[in-house]
Amino acid sequence: MSYNWNWGVFLQPSASGDDTYLGWLFTGLKWTVSLSLSAWVIALIVGSIIGVLRTVPNRWLSGFATAYVELFRNVPLLVQLFIWYFVLPELLPPDLGSAIKQSNPLWQQFFAAMLCLGLFTSARVAEQVRSGIESLPKGQKNAGLAMGFTLPQVYQHVLMPMAYRIIMPPLTSEFLNIFKNSAVATTIGLIELSRQAQQLVDYTAQPYEAFIAVTVMYLLINVTVMYLMRRLEEKVRVPGFVGGK
C-alpha cells in the first residue's frame, strides 16, 4: 500500500477559497450539532405528549398514540427523511409547496432533517416516557386522585417529575443516537459532518485523513454528551429506583 499521508491538507485553503478544509470540518460540526439539538427539542416535547397519551384511560387517545409510535418506528429513518424532503412539498397546497421549494436550499434541507429526526426520535422518547410512567407504583396515581387532583394535575405534579428522573439513562442513549442519526441528513445534501467528509474526499483526494478527522469528531461529540449526561443523571437520580432498561 502506497498511500501518501498528508495531514497538512486541513490547513490548505479550500476549494471555495475563503476557508481552509479544517474550516469545512467545523462548519460540518456546527450543522451536526445544531441539527441534533433542535431535533432533540422536538423529540422531547412531542415524545412526552405522545408518551403521556399512551398511558391515559381514554381509548381513542391512547390508540392514536400507539399508532403514532408504530408508524414512526417501523419506517426506516432514510425513507422518512425522503418523504419529508421530497414528498411533503408536493402534497401541500401549491402556494405553500412552491414557497418551500423556492426558499434557500440549505434551510429546506435543515428543516426537513430537523422535523424528520425530531419526530423519528419522539416515537422512541414516547416509549421511554411510557415505560417511566408505568414503572411507578399504581398507588402514586391513586394517591394524587384521592388528594383531589384532577388527572392532568396528577400527571403534572406527581407522575411526570418522577418519570423523567427515572428514565434519564435511556434518554441519554436516545440523545446520543440523535447525533449519530443526524448523519442521515447527508443524503439530502445538508453539509453536516458526514457530508463534509465526502466533500473532503472529492476535493482533496485524501480520504483517510478526512474520514479519520470526522470519525474523531463524532467520538468527541459522544464523549462530551456522555460526560454531561452522567453528571445530570447523578444529580437527578431517584434513590431506590433503577432507571428503565
Binding site: M1, E70, L71, R73, N74, V75, P76, L77, L78, V79, Q80, F82, I83, F86, V87, E90, L91, P93, P94, F179, K180, N181, S182, A183, V184, T186, T187, S194, A197, Q198, P207, Y208, F211, V214, T215, Y218, L219, N222
Partner: protein, 224 residues
C-alpha cells in the same frame, strides 16, 4: 393539488423484488455474522483475559459511537483496497461486498452488547455448578450459559434484527440498489418520486410491523 399516479409501480415490480432480495441478503448476512462475531466479542469481554476484554470493549464502543453512515462509507473505502491487494485490480462491483462487511461488523457490536447482557443474566451458580461437575470453562460456556442466555434474549435479538432490516436502506449512500435504492431510482426515472417513496415506506412498514407483532407473540410465549 398533486395528482397521484401509481402506474409506474406494476411495471417496476421485478426490479423492486430484485432490490428487496439485496435488502434481505444484507440483513441476513449481518444477522448471522453479527450474532456469531458478537458472541465471540461478548465472551472475550467478560472472559478472564484482560487484554482481549479491553480489545473487545474498544471494538464495541468504537462502532457504537460512530454513525452507521460513516461506517458504510469507511468500508466502501477500505474493502476495495483490501480486495485489490488480494485479487489484483480486477474486482468488479464491490458495493455489495462492502455493504455486507460493514453491516456484519457494525451489527456485531450491537449484538455483542445484547448477548453480554444475556450471558450475565444467567445466575452465577450455573457456572459454579458446571465447573463443579468437572466441565471445563469452555464446556460450561457452550453447554450451560449460552443455551440459557440465547433463550432469554431471543426477543431482543429479533427486535435488533428488525432495526437492522430498516437500517440497510442506508446503503443508499454508496449507491447500492437495495429495495429503497431501486424504488428511488424508479421514481426518479419516471418522475414519480412521491408515489415510489410512499410505496417504499408502506412496504417497509408492513414488513417491520408484522415482524414486530410476531416477536411480541413469541415473547409472550417465552415469558410463560
Amino acid at each position: 393539488m398533486y395528482e397521484m399516479d401509481w402506474s409506474s409501480i406494476p411495471g417496476a415490480i421485478p426490479l423492486l423484488l430484485k432490490g428487496l432480495l439485496i435488502t434481505f441478503e444484507v440483513t441476513f448476512t449481518a444477522i448471522v455474522v453479527g450474532i456469531v462475531w458478537g458472541t465471540l466479542l461478548a465472551i472475550a469481554r467478560i472472559g478472564p483475559n484482560k487484554i482481549l476484554a479491553k480489545l473487545a470493549a474498544g471494538y464495541v464502543n468504537l462502532f457504537r459511537s460512530v454513525p452507521l453512515v460513516m461506517v458504510i462509507l469507511w468500508f466502501y473505502l477500505i474493502v476495495p483496497q483490501g480486495l485489490k491487494a488480494i485479487f489484483g485490480d480486477d474486482i468488479g462491483d464491490i458495493r455489495l461486498t462492502s455493504a455486507l462487511v460493514a453491516f456484519a461488523l457494525f451489527e456485531a457490536a450491537y449484538y455483542s452488547e445484547i448477548i453480554r447482557a444475556g450471558i450475565q443474566s444467567v445466575p452465577r451458580g450455573q457456572v459454579s455448578a458446571g465447573l463443579a461437575l468437572g466441565m471445563t470453562q469452555g464446556q460450561t460456556m457452550r453447554l450451560i450459559l449460552l443455551p440459557q442466555a440465547f433463550r432469554n434474549m431471543t426477543p431482543l435479538l429479533l427486535t435488533q434484527a428488525i432495526i437492522l432490516f430498516q437500517d440497510t436502506s442506508l446503503v443508499y449512500v454508496i449507491g447500492l440498489s437495495d429495495f429503497f435504492g431501486t424504488a428511488y431510482k424508479v421514481g426518479d426515472r419516471d418522475g414519480r418520486l412521491v408515489e415510489l417513496l410512499l410505496f417504499a415506506g408502506a412496504i417497509y412498514f408492513v414488513i417491520s410491523f408484522s415482524a414486530s407483532l410476531l416477536v411480541k407473540r413469541l415473547q409472550a410465549r417465552f415469558v410463560k
